[in-house]
Symmetry: C2
Subunit: 405 residues, 2 copies
């Protein structure tokens, strides 16, 4: 398929780009509702859409009955626009996807990594995987219109540089954008992993929720924030760093220097530490078996033991969920979100964890804040980071065009 070159994309008018952006964020809106949403006259928006269909950038996607009984075609971004790349770099895993402009998945690849090996090793893999996926689908580097990347650490969103990422030694100040510039002329956007979880869910919801949180519980605990229908990154880009909220003034010391941080008491390493203690002090025969056989205990092992009814494992999950909920109660009193979506490895460790989170939040938050609050697993699940990276790629590519024609 022939795609639009970056040069031709840059030659689109601002009005044309606004149409593409609005359709990207619409769920099968008809031509008529789009005109309304754009604030353009029907004739102006029809002319713009006809032009974009003719250029092969928009496509009709089936027909829907409008309220008047008349059948109005719905539009979506067309593959002629090019392809977008989403990269989800985790502490221990790499996922890369090639997306159609409407975020239909064209190809994907995942592999275990150790992010502590540093940017040289990891970026070599990222570049090789992107190349492989592009070739596999019959595209070339010039068909790539935008690249979005999520990383498990703080990012200066403007420059795309990592800022002192605690889980990524050796990456401080590294610019993924500069590195990928050698292979692609497409713009590269980098964001924190939890911001991308939030952006992914916001797109999935087509902005039907305006104020919600996505919590990720894994090696650390972080939070993506959607406020007024946009991802909120904070004054210095560090909003959502909830892992270091104190939940116990007499708690253990955290690597950040303070005591009682929820991350030090309820995230993955704390769960396995409690499990090893339970195995060693005889509180859990199941976990003791596990430790003897494999020499260590993973969070999956704790989940397995909990599901098979091990009381100590249940106690550990309840304690972790309860402390996470205690932290969230403070956040709920402050932010009053409509929904909290919980993702990350630990979220799926067992139903007791989510139950304990919920109980703790509803008990500790004010009634008015929780009256309509819903707490669920993140609907995009483990795909959230990759989808969020894809949304970032499309959204910011269109925005950059909009800002600097």
């Amino acid at each position: 398929m022939e795609t639009l070159s970056l040069a031709r994309f840059k030659a689109l008018s601002l009005d044309e780009v606004r149409v593409l952006e609005t359709i990207f964020w619409s769920a099968g809106g008809s031509r008529y509702s789009l005109a309304d949403r754009l604030g353009y006259s029907k004739s102006k928006s029809n002319a713009l859409m006809a032009g974009l269909v003719e250029q092969g950038l928009l496509a009709e996607s089936g027909l829907q009955d409008s309220s008047g009984g008349r059948r109005a075609g719905t539009l979506q971004l067309h593959g002629g626009l090019g392809v977008f790349v989403g990269v989800d770099i985790g502490a221990a895993s790499l996922a890369v996807a090639l997306f159609h402009p409407d975020l239909a998945l064209l190809a994907q690849h995942a592999e275990p990594i150790d992010v502590r090996k540093g940017p040289g090793v990891i970026l070599a893999r990222v570049r090789a995987v992107i190349r492989k996926l592009i070739a596999q689908c019959g595209f070339s580097a010039r068909d790539v219109l935008g690249i979005g990347i999520g990383v498990p650490g703080p990012v200066d969103f403007g420059t795309g540089q990592l800022v002192n990422p605690p889980l990524m030694p050796g990456w401080d100040g590294f610019s993924l954008r500069e590195d990928l510039r050698e292979d692609y002329s497409a713009p590269v956007f980098v964001d924190n992993d939890v911001n991308l979880l939030a952006l992914g869910e916001l797109w999935r919801l087509r902005r039907s929720l305006q104020n919600f949180l996505v919590i990720k519980v894994g090696t650390g605990i972080g939070c993506g924030i959607v406020c007024h229908g946009e991802v909120y990154r904070g004054a210095a880009g560090s909003a959502g760093d909830v892992g270091h909220i104190c939940v116990d003034q007499a708690g253990p010391r955290c690597h950040c220097g303070n005591v009682g941080c929820v991350e030090a008491m309820a995230a993955g390493p704390a769960i396995t530490r409690m499990a090893i203690e339970a195995a060693q002090d005889g509180a859990s025969p199941a976990l003791a078996d596990c430790l003897r056989v494999s020499g260590t205990i993973t969070v999956q092992d704790v989940g397995q033991a909990s599901r098979s009814g091990d009381a100590a494992a249940n106690g550990i999950l309840q304690r972790a969920g309860s402390l996470t909920g205690q932290m969230l109660a403070s956040v709920v009193n402050f932010f009053n979100p409509s929904h909290i979506f919980i993702g990350g490895r630990i979220a799926h460790i067992g139903p007791l964890f989510l139950a304990a989170v919920r109980q703790s939040v509803y008990q500790r938050s004010l009634a008015l804040s929780t009256r309509h609050l819903e707490i669920h697993y993140a609907p995009l699940g483990m795909q959230g980071g990759m989808v969020g990276a894809g949304v970032l790629a499309v959204q910011e590519t269109l925005k950059v065009k909009g800002v600097a024609p």
Copy 2:
């Protein structure tokens, strides 16, 4: 002065109202920068502005040098638009102001009240004071174009009704809007007092800061939130209810049912309780004198004792500031604001309070979140609530017009 009637205001075009709104939020913007800000062509915006000047709704306000050396007149809202009323109902005080449309103060009145006397008694005073101020300035009820009211409790912003306000027994479900409809045909807007502190500072700053907090420490502790340049009220309108964030799992029981809420340990009543204890157990001769002479101790007394060097009073202020800062540290980790402004009676109790707040926040929050964080007294001080009510009146009156022509 002849003012625009509400009927004539309603006949303004949406474009005209957008010009008025933009000028209200601009600090002496020139005609040229306004055209840019409105996104209109220079000819369209000039025609709109000329029309509004002709109708007596906009006025030139002096001349400023533009960058090109050419002198471009700046515009502001003209008194011909009418007057706006701001009402600040506190737990123990009532302040009412009559504002020019550019928020210049025309007249004001303040008196002590006890809000617990209920809506009948308090609203009778509110109505009498508004009537007095209007007459005093030579206006009549039909010159009032909008009314903004702040109350010390949760408000359903859509309906203007109070929702279970803990400090306002007897007010649950009461609608100030309905009550004032008998006297005025102008729209009435009601909001929580801390949201109005935030709105007032946002207007004072002409939106030059986009993400900040205003904390009010008085009988309770509340927080107004500005996010993406707009006041954020939360999914159910209860955002900023930080008084019930837990700062001590072993703390005293709060009236909300939970233990260790910062409000129960650091707000006005906690400060006076600690002071009475210090007076009774001999820790503070100064506070003991005060208790003997006047039979009680106020927060002002504690501030006075602290300023004169009383060690026990100093300890009380440091403890209250430190606990308030501990709560704010959680909020800073989550929200990463650029500024925190501290207001309310307690804020000005003495320099030790602010110093302890700062120390606690900088110690407990992550470095990235506090690198550029500034913590100051709220610049509008005790006028903040009244100014915020005035901003609410102007902004929402223009917005209502914009939404429902």
